[in-house]
């Protein structure tokens, strides 16, 4: 089965970084990654995901236009089964509370701890497999 992870961030270099960080997993086809640079295009990706098994959404909070926190309930409404991890530079209690209340499964603060993220992804992949 084709496992898909969606990463939402307005910074284009996030795609480059993630593809390098997860190069081995991507090369080995353990999963594929899609990248959206805005919340609306993320929603489009989710609706088009169709056959691919979307196993995880990672989304930045601070984005121009629709923010990650606004995207969160919409994405949850479309795919209540898919866990969503929010990423923020502002790790304060208020944002954390809002994110968790809106249905996020976890909140990562930047710089992202890739060891933690990798193990999080592995857990999802193995659960689906």
């Amino acid at each position: 089965m084709n496992l898909l992870i969606l990463v939402v961030d307005d910074e284009p270099d996030v795609e480059v970084l993630f593809r390098q960080q997860f190069r081995r997993e991507l090369r080995a086809d353990r999963f594929t990654m899609e990248f959206a640079q805005s919340a609306p295009s993320a929603l489009q990706c989710i609706s088009q995901a169709g056959n691919a098994s979307l196993i995880l959404i990672l989304s930045d909070i601070n984005m121009p236009g629709m923010s990650g926190l606004e995207l969160l309930p919409k994405a949850k409404a479309m795919r209540p089964d898919v866990p969503i991890i929010m990423i923020t530079a502002y790790g304060d209690a208020e944002i954390k509370r809002k994110a968790l209340e809106s249905g996020a499964d976890a909140l990562f603060t930047t710089p992202i701890d890739f060891l933690m993220l990798r193990s999080e992804i592995e857990t999802r992949v193995e659960r689906t497999a």
């Binding site: 910074e11 270099d13 970084l17 390098q20 960080q21 530079a89 502002y90 304060d92 209690a93 930047t110 710089p111 992202i112 890739f114």
Partner: protein
């Protein structure tokens, strides 16, 4: 001292009172003798007047803050000199005429105590002289159409009155009145004498006014300089707080802007290190001649070393950015009542063990004069711990520095953390016997980014954060006492229940 010697024996111009009858039908010798007696008497009288006015001047000089003794003395001296039965002194406050002093009675008659104060008017010589600002005579109180104190005159048993106002730039400050049992006008010399006394009384009143004004001015200028001092201190605090607040917002903005690209720098360099490893792995299996392989190997090593540097400095920048964000962040965490001694003890232990891990062979004597009555304080424990960690670490640094600089084998690095119950406030003192703080540093040490430590060892934000936490977040105060080469002591005072009064987690 006799009265005469006081007058100094100066020639005195005498006035009036010539008893012409004494010159009639006398032989020249007798006339001459009578003339001598007359001159002698006139001289005596003049001397008496001089002495009486001189006495008043003495009283004026000795009582610059109170005119009453002057009034009393005038009342006492004026009447006998003029062979009058009574003398009264009145004060005028601009609205009412007040009785001030008298002579001629063993005690002040009821009529003055109950009848006065009175508004200026024509009903008595005193009030009339205040009304007109001129000398007023009532040769016969029984014949004066306006005089209304007939019963008073009866009680006091006088017929004629004269009142001489005390004038200051034409305005009456009071009046001196003299009364006799017989009717008739008062002679000019008596009026002149009263005028002299009135001038003296006016000088006494002016003296008191100037004395009081001067005292008031001294008091005001003292109060003024004190409140100016307070104002300056408050302004300093305000400026510091405002500077920190606006700088806090600015740094938060900058820090966030820097943080994102910095994260990329750190992330890409760390993944590049992995990639270089992979490159080496790939090269190992590639068909290459030895020289080229060595060259590529060298390049990979240099790249790897450069990336290590990028990562190292990236981490350094990251810790600065993190500190900048902490600096601007307030009200994080929860505030709650905590045992002050426990917080200080925890911070002391954390700092001590932290320092031992960081620096091999680190050692210092710790003193803990905690006040067992320090009790619970409502505060943000995380933030206060951060402040204490910072101050204690600075103390450790200063003591270690002094140890490395001194030749004194007996020098023992010591740090004391003390607490004290101040009732509705508590005090924490962190004192080290280290290098101390020079005055030029002391002025700037609470400024953000100010540091005396070598590059890479301090961000210069510790004390500025501490200041913000103590003053802005907790409504307390932080002061430093230091002597270069001897000691440094930070004194923190926190309100015991201050935070329940402030809004929880209030932001600046």
């Amino acid at each position: 001292m006799s009265r005469r010697s006081k007058a100094g024996g100066k020639p005195v111009k005498t006035r009036g009172r010539k008893t012409k009858a004494a010159h009639l039908d006398k032989s020249p010798a007798v006339r001459e003798e009578t003339e001598v007696v007359r001159l002698r008497r006139e001289l005596d009288e003049a001397l008496e007047r001089q002495t009486a006015t001189a006495e008043v001047l003495t009283v004026i000089a000795s009582s610059p803050h109170d005119a009453q003794p002057v009034f009393d003395r005038i009342a006492k001296n004026a009447a006998p000199l003029c062979k009058a039965q009574f003398c009264y002194v009145f004060r005028f406050d601009g609205e009412l005429v007040h009785f001030a002093a008298q002579s001629g009675y063993a005690s002040t008659p009821e009529v003055f105590l109950t009848g006065y104060p009175l508004p200026p008017g024509r009903t008595s010589a005193a009030t009339r002289s205040i009304l007109t600002g001129a000398i007023e005579q009532i040769p016969d109180v029984l014949a004066d159409p306006d005089y209304r104190h007939g019963s008073q005159a009866e009680v006091l048993s006088f017929r004629s009155i004269v009142a001489v106002p005390m004038l200051k730039d034409g305005c009456p400050l009071g009046t001196i009145a003299m009364a006799r049992s017989q009717a008739g006008k008062f002679p000019d010399w008596q009026i002149d004498l009263l005028r002299t006394f009135a001038n003296q009384a006016m000088i006494a009143i002016e003296n008191v006014r100037l004395f009081n004004a001067e005292q008031q001015r001294t008091l005001q200028s003292w109060e003024l300089s004190e409140s100016l001092e307070n104002l300056r201190a408050a302004q300093d605090r305000l400026v510091q707080t405002e500077k920190l607040a606006s700088l806090g917002q600015l740094t938060a903005g900058i820090a966030h802007e820097i943080k994102n690209p910095l994260n990329f720098v750190n992330n890409f360099s760390s993944v590049s290190v992995e990639l270089i490893d992979e490159l080496r792995g790939a090269l190992a299996s590639a068909q290459l001649d030895g020289k080229l392989r060595a060259e590529i190997g060298d390049l990979a090593d240099t790249l790897q070393a450069n990336l290590d540097k990028v990562m190292q400095h990236g981490k350094r920048a990251d810790s600065i950015v993190k500190n900048m964000l902490l600096h601007s962040r307030e009200g994080s965490g929860e505030h709650r009542p905590v045992d002050l001694n426990a917080v200080v003890e925890e911070s002391l232990n954390l700092a001590y063990h932290g320092a031992r891990v960081e620096k091999q062979g680190f050692n210092i004597t710790l003193e803990r004069p905690y006040d067992p009555n320090a009790g619970d304080v409502d505060l943000f424990p995380q933030e206060i711990t951060r402040v204490l960690l910072n101050l204690i670490s600075n103390g450790f640094y200063a003591a270690t520095e002094r140890k490395s600089q001194t030749n004194d084998g007996n020098y023992e690095p010591t740090l004391a953390a003390a607490t004290k119950n101040l009732g509705d406030r508590v005090e924490i003192r962190i004192r080290d016997n280290g290098t101390g703080i020079p005055p030029e540093v002391k002025d700037k040490m609470f400024n953000p980014f100010y540091t005396t430590k070598p590059a890479g060892e301090g961000t210069g934000l510790g004390l500025s954060i501490s200041h913000a936490v103590i003053v802005k977040q907790h409504g307390g105060s932080i002061e430093v006492d230091t002597e270069p080469g001897k000691f440094t002591e930070f004194r923190i005072v926190l309100p015991r229940a201050g935070l329940s009064l402030l809004k929880s987690g209030e932001r600046g």
